[in-house]
Subunit: 287 residues, 2 copies
């Protein structure tokens, strides 16, 4: 059995940067370290950080011993930062610079008089952060939403969206606006991972997608692969792998979301190799 | 046989305005009147004007007796205007204000540092006029054209394009640009005529599209109707109608391009009615 890892997969720039900031903090302070919400969308990484004394919290009031508060890669509401400062936390901003850029573009468009729409998943923290950064003057894009005629529309996109969702949004808006100003803020890491997944899915019999079940970009790699390949499985760790997925399989593709660490990818690779060896031996025996 | 005329068809604002300007001139001067290229894309109207002493010319040098030069509804190159003034013509600008607006937006986008693309028919005088207005700093959009990464792209559209062509253009560009600023300059008259044609084509057995064979918007009404209705005929005058098109036909739809005058539409309507009456009588007789 042949196993191929997608050319572009795993940690992106923003995730590496966020984890480096945590690492620096760990080495330079004895104060407790908190992240507001999970620092990245990977439960295993978050769990490992917890074992090292870095805690993910949802409410600032629940913390007795103040210390550092790290703003996660997806960004947060400006109000959270203000409140944390009032509560005497020291702030370390690990918001991905590409996400920050989306927030700033959205705000600038609002201030320039555009009706600003965000193409993305309404409940995702990145999208929530963008909307809140504009003080709710930007709105989430919805198919069939009321626009009114001859509007000036500004569009920004969640960094981990697929280009197809963006085209769908534009197609449904274009008849109703006189000007449409679109910033394609899908980040390069997302595009490269999606393109690599698409290419690999064409070559293999089974695709394994590794990453948090709560990770938007991992989920999108799964749906993109499913459009091409019949056997696609989204897992978080090697423990979820099932032997029967690989019966009579010649080629397996592996890819991983932008928040999936290398050590998990390596464990999955190793386990699939072992399953493959067992099947290869059986097949030699039966010949 | 029932005959229905599309709710929106025939002369648009820009065409009415151009012809009114000619009419005013005719009533106020004894100097000769020329138009640079056909004033509108309707050969019958151009022929009628010729019989009234208004001549369409392609080269200014060929004119001995100078007089008024009317700039046609599609607009022209700024150089033509300069040259005409140097040759002592009196200029009357009948460029459609909506076309003028496209020229000005394209120039502004170029000056603001955008790579400007025009979605339209390369050889159409309106598109040529837009490109020349920007001193060839805007380009025609072509599927698969080289864009380069992370460009700021500005888009304007020929006023008589279909929205589908615009969506196609955007879909092919969106992956390659960081910012896309689109002015949907398809004019309202075009949109209304296309929507009406689409609605009518769904209801009838035969669609008759009246207008210049050189008219972009009429040709587009024909292709839109052909997507829906099996029997679509593009004619310029009632003389092209063929009796056999209406055999066993219950419902006929008529529409006309933005440069087709009412008197031609009426003649076509009358001739189809007469053909219909003959078939209806025959059908009564055979019953």
């Amino acid at each position: 059995m042949e196993i191929k890892i997608a050319k572009h997969s795993g940690f992106c720039f923003g995730v590496i940067r966020a984890l480096e900031k945590i690492e620096e903090l760990k080495n330079s302070t004895n104060l407790p370290i908190y992240t507001f919400g999970p620092i990245i969308h990977n439960p295993q990484v978050v769990e490992k950080l917890k074992s090292e004394g870095v805690y993910s919290v949802e409410k600032l009031e629940e913390i007795d011993e103040k210390g550092y508060l790290v703003i996660r890669s997806h960004g947060v509401d400006k109000d959270v930062v203000k409140k944390a400062e009032m509560l005497d936390f020291k702030i370390v901003d690990a918001t991905c610079p590409y996400v920050k850029r989306v927030q700033e573009i959205a705000l600038r468009l609002v201030e320039d008089g555009y009706k600003v729409l965000v193409v993305g998943d309404e409940n995702h923290p990145e999208v929530q952060g963008i909307l809140q950064f504009t003080e709710a003057r930007a709105e989430i894009f919805k198919i069939g939403m009321e626009i009114g005629n001859n509007s000036k529309i500004g569009i920004v996109v969640q960094t981990t969206q697929s280009i197809d969702n963006l085209i769908l949004a534009i197609s449904s808006l274009i008849s109703y606006c006189s000007e449409l100003r679109l910033f394609n803020t899908i980040c390069n890491a997302t595009t490269l991972r999606q393109t690599s997944a698409r290419q690999l899915a064409r070559e293999v019999d089974v695709m394994i997608i590794i990453g948090g079940k709560n990770s938007a970009n991992t989920t999108r790699l799964t749906s993109i692969s499913k459009e091409i390949c019949q056997n696609v499985y989204h897992i978080e760790t090697e423990e979820e792998l099932k032997t029967e997925w690989f019966k009579d399989v010649k080629k397996v593709g592996i890819t991983a979301g932008a928040s999936t660490p290398d050590w998990i990818i390596q464990k999955v690779y190793k386990k699939i190799s072992e399953i493959g060896e067992v099947f290869d031996e059986k097949s030699t025996f039966s010949n």
